[in-house]
Amino acid sequence: MEDKKVHELLTELGRRLTEPVRPGLGEEIKQRIPHRLSRHKIGWDTVNIIIDLRLSKSVAAAAIIIAMILLLNLFGGRGSSVRGLVQDSVLLVKYWGREDISAVRSKYEYLLHRGEDVKWYGDSIDTKDSRAVLMQQRLPDGRYVITFVDGGEKEVDSQELLDLLGRMLQGKAG
């Protein structure tokens, strides 16, 4: 087969290889947008938006976050109960200013929901330590993917995981 023909077939294949996406996938992804998106330096973009909206930064942030939480809870979020609202608020306060942790937490909740073998250490570690283990996920082959506070990921075996967790506990005790 000629080069040109192969190129044409590949291009056509790309055009034809398509299928409908499951309805609801986009909404599921949107529901898991963290309360606080990842760390950003407050720059002119933010300042301009706030100036244009003629709102103080804290009022604007509070209004947006409260509205998002309410909408999330009212329209098919993680539960439309008062408990869900309280839980979200607690998480929001807890990880306020720690957007990196908030993003990993969202991922943890998603993996948990998906039935993965995951553990969250965020409640018991020193989150100022960027190399503390925030979350572990057990892979089908018995190894683990661990996520650090700084968002870094590493694949380790069970022994390495134990060492890391042990070191973390020692650090906390010390």
Partner: protein, 206 residues
């Protein structure tokens, strides 16, 4: 005369439609927000902008995963993971021109990580996508369809790295420079992989 809905002004290189914003308060606040590029609003931590990004990209990213050979279930999971990655790395986003490449780079990384973790699962999910018939008629159509099937089967059998080059360049219609950036390799390396992939394909369908 019916007026066609206007698309928001797009910068050159922006390959997604900017969706209309809702104005909950009727104050025109969202119209003001619309003046700002999506990337700027994402960097500013705007969740509505994040939802816009999802609307514009979840389908293309899902199909990208399917073309890379992941099965349906894995593709859905990986699409979710791509957006988790996006939320986490939003600070790295420069401008709207870079948005497409930035998101596909995350997607390619997520896919590669998946293959690394599930080596035994390196399946050919691409086969599971239905290949709709073209517009040709008669024996020509049959022959053409057969050739397409052959090429598709050959692509599915390629090693992951080579398959990725074919998908990025031919199926996602990216230039060598764009595709190499997304694959995280130099252009020379990308070209060399692409040539190897094409050689292998030609041998398979010969």
């Amino acid at each position: 005369m019916d007026e066609k809905p206007k698309l928001a002004e797009q910068k050159p290189g922006l390959t997604y439609p900017i969706t209309e914003q809702r104005d909950f308060g009727g104050s025109g606040a969202s119209a003001r927000q619309g003046q700002y590029p999506l990337s700027a609003r994402l960097r500013a931590g705007d969740r509505a902008a994040a939802a816009e990004l999802v609307d514009a990209y979840y389908e293309p990213i899902y199909l990208f995963m399917r073309r890379l050979g992941h099965d349906r279930h894995a593709s859905e999971d990986l699409t979710q993971e791509v957006f988790f990655g996006a939320w986490h790395h939003i600070g790295q986003l420069k401008d709207d021109k870079a948005l497409n490449g930035w998101l596909y780079r995350i997607a390619a990384n997520v896919s590669r990580l998946y293959w690394r973790r599930h080596k035994h699962n390196e399946v050919v999910g691409i086969e599971q996508i239905d290949l709709p018939a073209g517009s040709e008629a008669g024996p020509e159509k049959a022959g053409h369809q057969e050739q397409l099937e052959l090429v598709r089967a050959a692509v599915a059998k390629l090693p992951v790295k080579l398959r990725e080059t074919i998908v990025l360049h031919y199926m996602q219609q990216l230039t060598i420079a764009e595709a190499a950036e997304i694959a995280g390799i130099r252009q020379g390396t990308f070209k060399s992989r692409l040539n190897r992939a094409l050689r292998s394909l030609k041998e398979s369908v010969a």
